[in-house]
Amino acid sequence: MEQEEGLPISDLISLLWRRKWLFLLSTFLLLLASLIVVFKIPPTYRATGQILVEQQEIPTQWVNSTVASYADERIQAIGQRVLTTSNLVSLIEKLGVYNQERYANNLSLEALAARMRQNFSVENVRASIRDRNTGQTASATVAFRISFDHPSPEVAQDVATELVNLYLAENVQSRTKAITDTRQFLESEADRLEKSLAQIEEKISVFKEENLGALPEHQSLNITAYQRTEQQIDEIDRTLDSLGERKIILEAGIDSARRFLESGRSNTDTVAEADPRQVRLETLESELSNLESRYSDEHPDVIKKRREVAALREQIATEPEYPGRVDTTIVNAVSEQGDSSLVRLNTELASAISEEDSLRVRRNDLVGKLAELDVLINKTPEVEREYKSLIRDHENTQAKYNDIRGKQNSARVSESLELEQKGERFTLLEPPLLPEIPHKPNRKKLSILALGASLFSSFGLIFGVDWMQGKVRSVRQLERASGVPMLASIGNIVTQSDVRKRSRRRLLFLSLILIFLGALAFMFNFYEIKAEDVNPAEIKRFFNSWLDKINLPVLNRG
C-alpha cells in the first residue's frame, strides 16, 4: 500500500491517458485561440535616437563648469521639461501622431499626451568608469537613448527625431540659463558686499574722528607725553622752591638795608642824589621780569635784556662813583650806596615774584594737560574694543568680497567655456532611424508562451474535471474511502464485440483527423491564409460542426 499523500507520477500519467482526448482538444483550442490573439496584436515600431554625453574637454582641475548637476539628473530634468503637455500636444498636432485615435475615438489632447508619455522611453547607457583621482570604480552615464513606440514606423521615427531635438535644445538652454543665473547671482552678491564694505569704512572713519587721541595707536604717545608733563611739573616745583628761598633772603636783605638807611639818614639830612645808572638798572630789571613772565628763558628778548642788565651791573660795580658826582661827601656816599642796594634788592625781589607767578601759571597749565592725558589713557581700552570689532567687520567683509570676486572670475571663464561649447555637452550620436522590425510583440516568444499556457491550463482542466467527478481512480483512493482493504482489482473484461466496436470507432476517428488535417493544409497552402486573417468565430463554428459529427469519446464520457 502506498503511504505517501498527494498524486504520484503514475496517477498523473493515468489521468492524462484517461482524459487524453479532452486534453488534446482543450490544448488545441486554447492554443489556436491564443495564437490568433498573438498574431492579431498590432505591431508596434520603436524608433530610437542615441545621444552621447560628452565630458568636458578642458580638465576640471583647471576649469570647472558652473553647471553642477550630474548628467543623470540633468537628463531627468530635461525630460520633465520636454514632456510637458503643451510640448506634446504641439507635436501631436504637428505630426498627426494619434490622428486615428483622436478623431475616431474622440480622445482629448491631454489623454493623447498621456499616451505619448507612455510610449516614450529614455534609457541611460551606463558605463563603469574608474575615477583617476580616487581610483574607485563608479558607474556613469555616457549616453542615453530616446525611444518612441508607434504602430507606424514613420511616425515613430518622426516623433523620436523631434524629441531628440527637443532634448538637445533644452540641454543647451538649460546650461546657458544655469551659467547666466550663476553670473548674475555672483554679480549681485559682489555689489552687495561692496556696499557693505563702504559702509563699514565710513563707520570706521567717523569713529576715528570721534575718538581722536584715544585710539589704540595713540596710546604710547599719550603715555610719553604724560611722563614728560610730570617731569616738567617736577622741575617747575623745584624752581618754585628755590625762588621761595631767594625771596626770603631778598626780603631779609631789604629789611636790613632799610634799617641801615634809616639810621644813616638820621645822621645826615642830606639826601643823596640818586645815581642815574641805578635808576636805569631798575628800569631794565623790571622790563626783564616782565619779559620773563611772558617768554621762556631761551627767548632772545629775554637773553638780550639779561645781557643789558648784567652789563649795567658790571659798570655799577666797577665804577661805584658816579662820574658826575665825584666830590660828594662820604655820608652821602654811604647813603647813596645803601639806597642803591636797596633798590637792587627790591628789583630782585620783584623779579623773583614775577618769575614765581609765571611759573605757577605754567604749572597749572601742565596739571590741566596731565588730567586730559589721563582721561584719554583711561578711555583707550574701551575705544580699542569697539575699534577692533569694526576692523574685524571690515576684514571679514573684505575677505568675502575677495572670494566673490575670485568666483566671479572663474564663472566668467566657465561661461566662455560653455559658450564655446567646450564643457560637457550632448551630441547626437545616432539619429532615430526608420524601424523595420516591430519592437512589439515578440510573436515567437508569445507563441511559445501560449503553447505552455495552453498545455498547463488543459492539464488543469482535466485535473479539475476529474476532481469534480470525485470518482474512484486508484486503489489508494478506494482504501482511503472504504477503510477496508481492497481484496482484488479486476481489469476490464473485454469481449470480442467490445474489441470490434473499439476498432471501428478508432478507424473512424483516425480518418476524420486525417481529413481535417488535409483540409487545413489545403487551406493554408493553396489560399495562403495568414494566421492573422483567421476569424476565430469561423474556426469555432467549423469545429462545432465537426464535433457534432465525430463521436469523440471525451464527449461520451460521464
Binding site: V472, L478, G483, P485, S489
Partner: protein, 278 residues
Amino acid sequence: MVEKIKLALERAYKEREGNSQKTVSTTVSLSEPKVEPQSIGGTVTGSFTHSLTDSRYSVVDTDKLARNRIVTYDDTNEHAESFRLLRTQLLHYIETAGVSTIGITSPAGSDGKTIVSLNLAISMVRSSDINVVLVDGDLATPSVDKLLGLDVTFGLVDLLNNHVGLSEVLQRVSIPNLWIIPGRREAVNLMDKRHASRVEELVDGFSISDRSIVIVDLPPVLGRDDTLAFTTYLDGILLVVQEGETKTEEVERAMNLLKQCNVLGTVLNKSTQKQSTR
C-alpha cells in the same frame, strides 16, 4: 409479525422432521447429479450426506459465458488470475473466521456485482471441492439467470414467500459443485423483514454442510433499503467498486450504511491499476 415467523419456522421444522426423506425441504444437502453430460472441466471431489433428486439442471454455453464476461471457467484467461486471488483470500476468511455466507454488493448500480459474483463462484468451485450456492439476491432486477441462460419457473421470491420448497428453486448448471438460486423476473418485489428472517433460515439451512459457501448477489446499498435487511444475516460483505465510475463519496456512504456488517473488503472492478500483490 413475530408470530408469523414463528409459524413459518414451526412449519419448516415439521416438514423437516416429518418428511426427512422428501426432497422439498428448507434444509438442503448438495450432491452431484449422477449424469453430467457437459461438465466444464475440473475435478469433482467431496462427499455429500444428502442427495438432491429434483434439482433442475441446465447446460451452459461457454460462448455465451464469454460474451457475458464470465471468464473464470477458463484458467488461461488474463482475468482469471484476479479472481483466483480474490478467491484465495476469501477461502482464508472461510477457514479462519468461519465465514460461509458472503454478500456481494456495491454502492450504486451497474458496477458489475453479478459478473464478479458469478466469476468468483465459478473460480471457487473449480479450485476445490466446495459447493457454492449462488443466490441472486436482487429481487427487483435479477440477472444471474440471464447471464447463465437459465429458465426460471420459481425464484428466490417464491422461496421467501414459502410458495415452493428449496428443491424447486435450486438449479444446477454444467459446472460441478455450483448451485444457483435465481431470481424471478416477473415477481418484482422488494425484500421486507419477513423475507429477511426467512433468509436467515435459509442461510442456516445451507450451512449444514461445512463444505458449502453461499454467495449472495445483492442489490446496491445506496437508494435501496432492502439490501441492509439481507446483509445482517451474512457472515461477510464484499463491496464491488467500479474504477472511474463509482464516486469516492458513494463508497464512503455505503461503508457508513454497512458499518453494522462485516465488510471483508472491496473489489476494484474495471481497474486500470496493476494487480495488487497482496
